[in-house]
């Protein structure tokens, strides 16, 4: 899994690539904790290069949203591939973490 981030004030956009599962979720959690701890409380995941999300992966996304909300910000995701979209749909994750069409929409959602 590759994790790159760009920080723009209170907004951090993580570009994730590969699989988010039990093996890779600690890296995602660590990256989010560092960013939110540093003041970037609006967290956006660009998932367009994420091919697979397991339950451990969903759990770390839930924890990221919880962390961002607790800091007074929020979280949104965009770019879900079909398989990942199905996982989000079955679990109803979209009711907890907003799914947007693109980064601009995610930024608008979190700014509101």
């Amino acid at each position: 899994m590759e994790i790159t981030s760009k920080i723009d004030g209170a907004v951090v956009v993580f570009q994730l690539a590969g699989r988010i599962d039990a093996a890779t979720s600690p890296s995602v959690e660590g990256a989010v904790n560092t960013a939110v701890g540093g003041g970037s409380k609006r967290v956006i995941f660009d998932m367009s290069a994420v091919s697979y999300v397991s339950s451990a992966g969903l759990r770390v996304i839930l924890l990221a949203a919880k962390k961002a909300n607790a800091a007074g910000g929020g979280m949104a995701v965009f770019g879900l591939q079909a398989g990942v979209q199905e996982v989000f749909s079955v679990s109803g994750f979209g009711r907890i973490v907003p799914i947007t069409a693109n980064e601009a929409e995610a930024r608008t959602k979190l700014a509101g």
Partner: protein, 219 residues
């Protein structure tokens, strides 16, 4: 303080404080709930993972907890990958009396007392009343917090809510109007975790089977 496992917590919640026995409404699904609780715990500590199709071991390192380790070893030994619902069903029947085993753990850790009680003046039965009841109160408080706050739920609390919903514990804790009002939130949170959805499916099957037997005997 070492926290209780989800299997321990759901047993504490399923117990009737007065009789010291598993509530009649939970009895048929108690083993299923414990099996699911163990799998959930193994998922939270990074030993297993799941997806829409299957449950699989990701780390075989034992935890030093006899119940969790027994089930981890059994899942690791299975040559074919199986879905969560299959494992919950299998483990609930293959591991002897899971209820007795968890009750024994809770007595050993000082959370429950074991008592011999008489009924009909002659017959005796074992009862497991709580020592302080603190663990039950804490678990209920966490469930209420998930239900009546709109915050993003913690994964452990999400899983506990899935167990409490499937076993009928939630319906027993809440007044009927509260349960109805909380319905959308209960459904939303219980769906988040794959093993939480699977335990709902298996407990539904068990209740259907019990109802069929009852209908056959008392049409």
């Amino acid at each position: 303080m070492k926290h209780l496992t989800l299997a321990d917590e759901i047993v504490v919640l399923m117990l009737d404080d007065t009789s010291g026995e598993i509530k009649p409404g939970c009895l048929a699904v108690a083993g299923v709930a414990i099996a699911a609780g163990v799998l959930m715990e193994l998922a939270l500590v990074g030993r297993i993972d799941t997806d829409l199709e299957s449950l699989f071991v990701v780390d075989r390192t034992l935890l030093g907890d006899a119940l969790l380790d027994d089930i981890l070893l059994e899942v690791a030994a299975e040559p074919r990958t199986q879905p969560s619902a299959w494992w919950i069903d299998q483990l609930s029947t293959r591991h002897g009396d899971l209820v007795e085993r968890v009750l024994g753990r809770l007595v050993s850790s000082g959370i429950l007392k074991e008592e011999e009680r008489k009924f009909l003046w002659v017959f005796s039965r074992r009862a497991y009343p709580p020592v302080s009841g603190r663990e039950e109160r804490e678990a209920k408080a966490r469930l209420m917090s998930v239900l009546f706050n709109d915050e993003v739920p913690d994964p452990r609390d999400t899983l506990l809510l899935g167990l409490a919903k499937s076993t009928g514990v939630l319906a027993a804790i809440l007044a009927s109007d509260e349960y109805e009002k909380a319905g959308p939130r209960i459904a939303e949170v219980a769906a988040l975790e794959e093993i939480g959805r699977a335990v709902g499916v298996v407990t539904g099957q068990v209740r259907d089977a019990v109802a069929s037997i009852m209908m056959a005997h008392y049409p």
